[in-house]
């Protein structure tokens, strides 16, 4: 019966193929091209390999501790207080992780989709949706993924169909012509859009482990990586050295297609579809942040963590919006080490310690 509270593996795969995918193709390709030029796809490949390795580790962990959430694993190994401390760090990380995509979505909406600058309230409405989404919890994330995946597929197909005829792949040649330091720079500066492994980490124990589930999740992750790389290759193939100026690529990619002169800007449909999917994508860290803080403080009312997380983001968005560039530079260049420490190193260390501790008595 599909109404059980646990999430299906298929839904996690769909979440990866929709929300995680769309989050990476709005601004990241243009930024990657700024540092790595035609080697941006290699930068993305490096990022995917690093994040994919962490996803693989998390799946292995869930294999070792079947039906246990990360919180349960920590609680059993080191006690409840320790588990709460780790989850609090994850909560803080997720809040920071949410900030850049939300500002990015705000700019995308206000600059790319509107001809005249819309009012502040236009984007503020998003927080009503995100609060509702957070309130509905992980199950809603899983269920929505079943629908959203088709929307993201449609958006990608429309865009690729419009942009492939305009693509000149020779723009990407020579394939290994970019210095490796530049590629690494591209990888480092776009890494804030990654860390999807953290979602999987918080999902373990909440989904039904079925046959070959690790392979299915890893394949969907690889699928997402492949689509993102193809997308960035086509974008670079179309714009060449100008790619770094193509922020909000979904509405730039297809606009030169001759078909649009007859039927109007149908590429905007893809633009709006991306905005729809992105509304879910940028809410993912908020949902997981609400989930984490709920574990830490064990609120009796489900609304408190939701209001804490969304309120914090709403306030920070309006307070820090004018300093976005500075904040973005700080987060992607300096604070990225902190991201890695909390999102990767900390779970890796504590999970390994939990594994070692579990083996000892045997």
């Amino acid at each position: 019966m599909p109404t059980e509270n646990k999430i299906c593996v298929r839904q996690i795969c769909f979440m990866i193929l929709s929300c995680c995918l769309i989050g990476k193709i709005l601004v990241a390709p243009a930024l990657g091209a700024r540092y790595a030029s035609e080697g941006l796809w290699i930068s993305f490949l490096i990022n995917f390999c690093a994040d994919g390795a962490f996803v693989f580790f998390v799946l292995k962990l869930s294999d070792k501790f079947p039906n246990k959430t990360f919180f349960d694993i920590l609680k059993n190994a080191f006690g409840k207080v320790f588990a709460k401390i780790i989850y609090f760090f994850l909560f803080v990380f997720l809040l920071f992780k949410a900030f850049i995509p939300i500002v990015e979505q705000k700019n995308y909406i206000e600059i790319a989709l509107y001809e005249t600058s819309p009012s502040v309230m236009t984007f503020a409405l998003y927080f009503l949706f995100s609060s509702f989404f957070c309130y509905k919890g992980l199950k809603a994330v899983a269920r929505c993924s079943d629908i959203v995946v088709w929307a993201s597929s449609l958006g990608i197909i429309i865009l690729l169909a419009l942009s492939i005829p305009l693509t000149d792949l020779t723009n990407l040649l020579p394939i290994i012509g970019v210095p490796f330091t530049k590629i690494l720079d591209g990888a480092k500066n776009t890494f804030v859009w990654y860390f999807d492994g953290v979602y999987i980490l918080l999902l373990i124990g909440n989904f039904k482990p079925e046959k070959a589930y690790k392979r299915k999740i890893m394949l969907s992750y690889a699928g997402m990586a492949l689509i993102t790389i193809i997308y960035s290759v086509i974008l670079y193939g179309e714009f060449g050295a100008l790619t770094e100026r193509q922020y909000f690529s979904p509405i730039q990619m297809g606009k030169s297609n001759v078909a649009l002169s007859n039927v109007g800007r149908i590429d905007y449909i893809a633009g709006f579809i991306f905005a729809f999917v992105d509304a879910f994508a940028i809410s993912l860290p908020l949902v997981f942040a609400s989930y984490s803080i709920q574990k830490v403080f064990e609120f009796k009312n489900k609304l408190y963590p939701v209001l804490t997380v969304n309120g914090a983001l709403l306030i920070s968005l309006f307070v820090a919006h004018d300093y976005f560039i500075e904040i973005f530079r700080f987060l992607s260049k300096k604070a990225i080490w902190g991201y890695w420490a909390i999102a990767y190193a900390m779970p890796l260390i504590v999970a390994t310690a939990a594994l070692v501790k579990r083996r000892k008595p045997q």
């Binding site: 109404t3 819309p118 949706f129 989404f133 929505c144 905005a275």
Partner: protein, 479 residues
């Protein structure tokens, strides 16, 4: 208070209880003793009463017990009554209560006769192919229609009564071996827990059965067609018939149900797929088209192809209202016309059409109050809504909300409403069944009868979402 041996005393108490001019106290002699028949004049078949109840009692041996006397009458449905209140209830339900002097207790003979309309084609679910009978207001006739289709011992019917004053009969129907018994139990408990004065229609019962009272979306399926009810029950749902209502209810309800019509299963499945896709498109247009048009005019002009944009520009020249106000005004008029056309006598319908379409529409455009494209969009949206009549209540409200948001914040507002609706509908469950199944959660097996449908002979399994006990409904030859 029990029915004693003194007939006069019993009569006095009953007269005090049933103090109404249409309650008849008919005295006659049963054998050698005085007897009394109590019935409601307007709902009793006097011919049956005379032939099957009073006549056999005239010659009966009244020295026997009441139970044995009850057996002497030829009426099919007879039950003994011992309490005065019970006897009064039976009289009000249409039975005739017989009391005999010197006998404690009495018996109630079911000789009721209500005037009912003939079985006719249901006006809300017309079909070119398929059966033409529909439910009527009599629960007995409706049950007979169900029995005519389902000649099986697996059909279980449990009756109950709701309504302090109306004592409305409700039949809960399930199919043994298919329906989830926990669902039947849950529905029975929910109905039992309700204290209400009367239940004039099945819509009251559906509201009682709602799990989320404030939801904009319906949560209980309804149909006027016995064939639809049967098919839904055979998929694992329970059916509910309410006395006095031609609408049968089905539970659990899935949103996709209202996009499926009975006729889809009687015609070619290619055609059925086309019309189902059209219904989905029409509902989408009816809800979002006015909002999209307004948002495009106000915030996203680049969305409109140039030639169409020029047409719009020419037609809106000099119009005093903003696009959102213009569309709101048009939709308001449409809703008023719609409401009027339902309430007013049919013979005024032609006048309404003339006033609505010609006078209001044409004159408003000529007077420069509204533009032609706006009238066209409103008409398109207004007509589209009726492709799925069961959803009109929800979609017409949603249309206003979308228009309001689109006029205020533009396309992103529409995107957020869509996201909100997606989240709400996906997270909703109705009696433990996902509301938008088989799409979320995706149930591959159930996609055979979703927006796409397979041929009826190629649907071997019942919908998994409904948790039917027996999953298979078609077997290959020899199995």
């Amino acid at each position: 208070m029990i029915i004693g041996k003194d007939l006069l005393k019993n009569e006095k108490i009953l007269k005090a209880l049933l103090c109404s001019d249409d309650v008849i106290f008919f005295e006659f002699t049963a054998g050698s003793k005085n007897a009394l028949a109590v019935y409601v004049d307007s709902i009793t078949d006097k011919e049956t009463l005379g032939l099957q109840v009073i006549f056999p009692l005239k010659n009966a041996n009244v020295s026997q017990s009441v139970k044995k006397l009850a057996k002497t009458i030829t009426c099919a449905n007879v039950k003994t009554v011992t309490e005065i209140k019970e006897a009064a209830n039976e009289v009000l339900n249409g039975s005739t209560v017989i009391l005999i002097d010197g006998k404690a207790g009495g018996f109630a003979a079911d000789v009721k006769k209500f005037d009912v309309r003939a079985i006719a084609e249901p006006p809300t679910e017309l079909a070119i192919r398929g059966p033409r009978n529909g439910f009527i207001e009599s629960i007995k006739t409706n049950l007979s229609l169900v029995r005519r289709y389902l000649k099986t011992t697996a059909l279980k019917i449990e009756t109950t009564e709701i309504g302090k004053y109306s004592s409305t009969s409700i039949a809960i129907m399930s199919i043994d071996g298919i329906t989830d018994p926990s669902l039947v139990k849950k529905v029975k408990e929910k109905l039992k827990s309700v204290k209400i004065d009367s239940v004039p229609d099945s819509s009251y019962v559906s509201k009682i059965l709602y799990e989320r009272k404030n939801s904009l979306f319906k949560q209980v399926g309804s149909t006027e067609r016995p064939d639809v009810l049967i098919e839904r029950m055979l998929e694992g749902r329970i059916g509910i018939l309410v006395d006095g209502s031609p609408f049968a209810l089905t539970l659990p309800y899935l949103l996709i149900e209202d996009f499926q019509t009975a006729e889809d299963y009687y015609i070619s499945h290619y055609r059925a797929n086309l019309v189902r896709a059209l219904r989905v498109l029409a509902i989408f247009l009816s809800v979002f088209l006015p909002g999209l048009f307004v948002a495009a005019q106000l915030f996203h002009l680049q969305l409109i192809p140039l030639n169409f944009l020029l047409t719009i520009v020419n037609s809106i020249k000099g119009i005093p209202l903003s696009p959102s106000l213009e569309m709101f005004f048009l939709l308001l008029i449409f809703e008023i016309l719609n409401e009027t056309s339902i309430r007013m006598p049919k013979y005024v319908g032609m006048a309404l059409a003339v006033v609505g379409a010609l006078v209001l529409g044409e004159t408003a455009v000529n007077a420069g109050l509204v533009s032609t494209p706006a009238v066209l969009i409103m008409a398109m949206s207004g007509i589209s809504i009726y492709t799925v009549p069961e959803l009109t209540e929800t979609t017409s409200l949603l249309r206003f909300i979308v228009l309001l948001i689109a006029g205020s914040v533009g396309g992103y507002g529409i995107v957020l409403i869509e996201a909100f609706l997606t989240c709400y509908l996906c997270a909703t469950e109705n009696y433990g069944v996902p509301y938008v199944a088989p799409y979320s959660p995706l149930i591959l097996n159930d996609l055979q009868d979703g927006i796409y449908m397979s041929d009826v002979t190629s649907m071997p399994f019942r919908p998994q979402a409904l948790n039917a006990k027996n999953k298979r409904r078609q077997y290959a030859d020899g199995k």
